[in-house]
Amino acid sequence: MEFTLLWAVLTAVALTWLGLRIWPDSVPEGGFDRLLGGGMAGLLVGRVTAMTLQGINPITSPADLIVIRGGVHTGAATIAFIAVLSWSTRSTRDALDALAPAILLGLAGWHAGCLWRGACLGIPGDLPWAWALEGSNVTRHPVEIYAAVGLAAAAWLVSSLDRRVWLRAGTALAAAAAIRLLTEPLRPSITGGPTLWYWAGVVAGLTVVVAGWRLRRPTVTAPT
């Protein structure tokens, strides 16, 4: 049994917790628990979806659910996470905006967790900070570190945005998807990666920003 994946998850959880303390403004009561609940729901739905797409029936093979390394569907997991989080914070209007920077920092932690898993490297590259697999002389881009740095920077950027409705949440979604999209070509892949979902994330995030902006526009009534 190996626990490197668990360490990566714990790094993500720890940085999410830290993010809630760095940016505590308007965080709803029990914000950390709500994020954990959303994360668990996302993991479950993402795993079930991945199993189904792989041809493994989650109903007749329920024990396969725990084999997380077998794959978690990014799109389904993200939708489930946002849906559960939105539902659990529905009574607090700007909860998603308040939680957005901490979520990005948690995602940065997940990518930085590659250091525990020995899974930071991507395609070959000869930049000064590239390094090689043990016993190899092929240096490679530390692509997961790039993603972690990008997401941490996005967390800071999002935290500095105005508190307009959905501005932070939408920007965070678009930024997370864009960073994954930009780093994807640097990752060796078998299935090509979920780039379509990353594009969808960028579009959805920007749509949320625009929708929030339109919601806040003053209503102009025609003179009677």
Binding site: N57, G71, A119, V138
Partner: protein
Amino acid sequence: MKKLLLFVLVLAACSAGGPVDTSDLDDLPAVTAAEFDAHLAELERPAVVNVWASWCLPCRSEAPLLDAAHRRFGDEIEFIGVDVQDSQPAAKQFLSEFGLDFTHFFDRDRAIPNFYGGLGTPITLFFASHGELVSTHNGVIDERTLALNIDELRQTGS
């Protein structure tokens, strides 16, 4: 709630595939560790060797990934399966279910993973051409790890 439970049960009943008749399939060839090592030494290209068993839960989860990897890189990399501590009928059933269309050997006594120092099941071993062991991954393998190790073989292994 009752309706939901009924729906799930009906779905399970409809989707549970029964055992496929594999009696007309050939048994997997049994090899010793020395014979297997000699087979790898003859290969002119890198090889990915996956140690699996029909009773192994994680092996089921990684089987579709290995199938995808074989379909994508099968013309550059040799994919070989080693079925350990298993029975021939169960092994053939597993292969029928997942359609792993590459060479598989039968190793009832687990001699091959023991020979290369792998632990548990599944194990994925990465060999340069002529059977030089490059790396070993114990446990279920994810897409990134498999893709990275295959890329390493493609860069250095031939």
